[in-house]
Symmetry: C2
DNA sequence: TACTATATAAGAATGATTCTTGTTCAGCAA
DNA sequence: TTGCTGAACAAGAATCATTCTTATATAGTA
């Protein structure tokens, strides 16, 4: 199936907001557009930088608030990390990550085999497991290249 | 095999420090002991609280510095999270985590099937993958219990 | 168009972590 | 043992990410 056009995504954004009684403000729309236009895993400040060309006096607090809201309602996901600035994932379909421990780059990958790993019995019985993710760690191709060069 | 006694672990700590030219200070020793004596995933401040009974005027900066050092040299691991305070793992053997999204509790589990999942070809070829971890997310038994009660 | 609750901007406040600086001490050599 | 020296430390300032407070603006609606 073909992925949604950005026009379709925007329409979906508007109707989801409506359904939840959230105002559709120019700021929220701009932040949403910045998100869907990115294939990476931006920090709040990255999004802030992308929108402030069009909105020179947007407060960074608005970006923090809005991304937090978007994460709550599922427009974006929060990426697992190691205590630095939060990173968001505009791709909310099930997928997994490779994380470069040297430069912080996060690469996506889809691996259906990993989407439904069989969880230990004790979690099945006592906890409510809502999702599983596999995280690969190491050094990315870019960084390996740099190592060779020097 | 039997797991190491704390005396053996301490001896290992001392020789590892020596091998790396690191001074064996009372502060480092106390922090190391606090770590190996814990079965959870403490924050820097948790460790600080545990050692300050014996060292009332230890600076919290020393705990930050020391945990960071211990993570670099592999005495502890850093736990993946979502941007709150860093959490450390004194268990450096390969294992995986369940994370409660409600209370933040992190439960360990060992699942050899997960330790050597077959990584996508493109990472094998271009990146140096140093480890794989599976993260389960959901609501823990404690929190489910609370939900039922109220 | 007017009203009201919601959202925003600006800046202060907070929490975690790191940096700076002057002091102390662990490891080592005499 | 003693003395030296670089590494480690304590204290507090500084920084970074994030959240809170408050006064103002505005989206949705009558
Ligand atoms: Mn992703
Ligand atoms: Mn663990
Ligand atoms: Zn890299
Ligand atoms: Zn819980």
């Amino acid at each position: 199936m073909m992925s949604k056009t950005s026009k379709e995504l925007l329409e979906q954004f508007r109707s989801q907001c409506k359904a939840r009684g959230l105002s559709i403000t120019p700021q929220r729309t701009a932040i949403y557009e910045a998100l869907i236009g990115s294939q990476d895993h931006p920090r709040t400040e990255d999004i802030y930088n992308r929108v402030k060309t069009a909105f020179p006096d947007m407060s960074i607090d608005t970006v923090y608030r809005t991304l937090c809201l978007f994460a709550e309602i599922g427009f974006v996901h929060l990426v697992e990390g190691y205590g630095e600035a939060k990173r968001y994932d505009p791709d909310t379909e099930c997928h997994h990550h490779f994380r470069c421990m040297r430069c912080g780059r996060i690469l996506d990958f889809r691996e259906p085999r990993f989407d439904a790993l069989d969880v230990p019995e004790r979690f099945k019985q006592n906890c409510a497991v809502s999702n599983i993710k596999v995280v690969l760690e190491g050094v990315c191709d870019h960084c390996l290249q740099k190592t060779v060069e020097s």
